[in-house]
Symmetry: C2
Amino acid sequence: MGRKLLEIAYLGTSYCGWQVQPNGVTIQEILQNSLYKILKYKPNVTGCSRTDSDVHAKQFFCHFDTDVNIPNNGLVLGLNTILPNDISAINCYNVPDDFHARYSATGKLYKYSIFLSEIKNPFLFGRTLLIKSPINLTLANEYCDLLKGKHNFEAFSSINRTVVDTVRTVSECYIDINDNILDFYVKADGFLYNMVRIMVGTLLEYSSGKISREDIAKAFSTGDRTLLGATAPPQGLYLEKVFYDNNDDIFFKDRS
Amino acid sequence: MGRKLLEIAYLGTSYCGWQVQPNGVTIQEILQNSLYKILKYKPNVTGCSRTDSDVHAKQFFCHFDTDVNIPNNGLVLGLNTILPNDISAINCYNVPDDFHARYSATGKLYKYSIFLSEIKNPFLFGRTLLIKSPINLTLANEYCDLLKGKHNFEAFSSINRTVVDTVRTVSECYIDINDNILDFYVKADGFLYNMVRIMVGTLLEYSSGKISREDIAKAFSTGDRTLLGATAPPQGLYLEKVFYDNNDDIFFKDRS
């Protein structure tokens, strides 16, 4: 029995998020069913994150255990003939038995895409949040700087969260604008439930002057969710990259 | 009664092309039904081109006649609340009664996007053609140069074409590569049915050495379709821009 780490990417529009649930089709379910066709049993696949409905992943990792002897590149090719067109298998690696797609991750990079336009764009629907009013970039950049560092992000999480420790370290937070698309990037050692979407909802209110620097400081010190902006809708959110320690040593040696 | 020219954009994936037909939903039909809700009658809308199923338009023009007194920007805003998310109204202009979305066009620019990758990308599905083998760019650029100029493009058209004159002038034809996406651009004074898709199918065979410079010359001189490559699938094709003479004088003055 060995553990495999699978790298995939998906457009989340048609799915009720990653995790198997009774009321809709999920990426985990589709992936497990696809693996069943190759491995002849349905492995229990553990993801690096639980993305919500309509959230996308440019890079997503999940692990599963198998004693089926199949080359990793053969598994990737096989999966891509079975998976629907909005889910791709990218790579597969052999990892140690104690490697965990979620708990071994040392950081994640998320992107949230905002389309700044008075008129909707059919090519960006489901892939960005359309915002018709201009955004004050000076304030937006100031806001990004406030999020950086080690803080108690309790206020930046949904009450549905299950974790107790709400302190996280944001190592990168910045904005990039191209062709009227504002991309908000945030990298941290971990994220609470809905954390990026609340960061983005608050970005919109901060950059329009409705939320102040003091409000953010107070949200950090009190954990009061009501000081912050709305939870931004899911379709602009992308899990961009997942980081593991010593990637090269642990698993990048063994792709074939 | 005045004539209006409407500029729209659409993702063609869900439609059986532009033109109304009995066996599927078309963009023309959706647009006419949407205009009906605003104008209280269904205008006959004439498009600048007949795009096929799965073909996209970044810019598409159509005209219709109306005696309803509605400001052009109000019509655009109203349409965007009614149109589905994969069709957008961009602008509306008052034009002279003899202006014709199709016959007044002096040129069109098409793009065909090819994703060069061994692995499919969920974000590019339905929006590019996936090609797994590398493309010889020297040959591809040489091929683009061969298409430029005034030629009889009869061989580059489907037998379903309805026009008699098959001579067209290609003023621009070039390739642009970014992030493994090869964009083939071609601008001409007019296009025959399936012309760009046959150009692209031939590009693939020319750049892999299966079709020669002499074959292209012979195709121009004989009109023999069988000398050329397959008709590339529709999903990589975009109508990028439509050109009209003296745009500024004719209609850009009257947007409001």
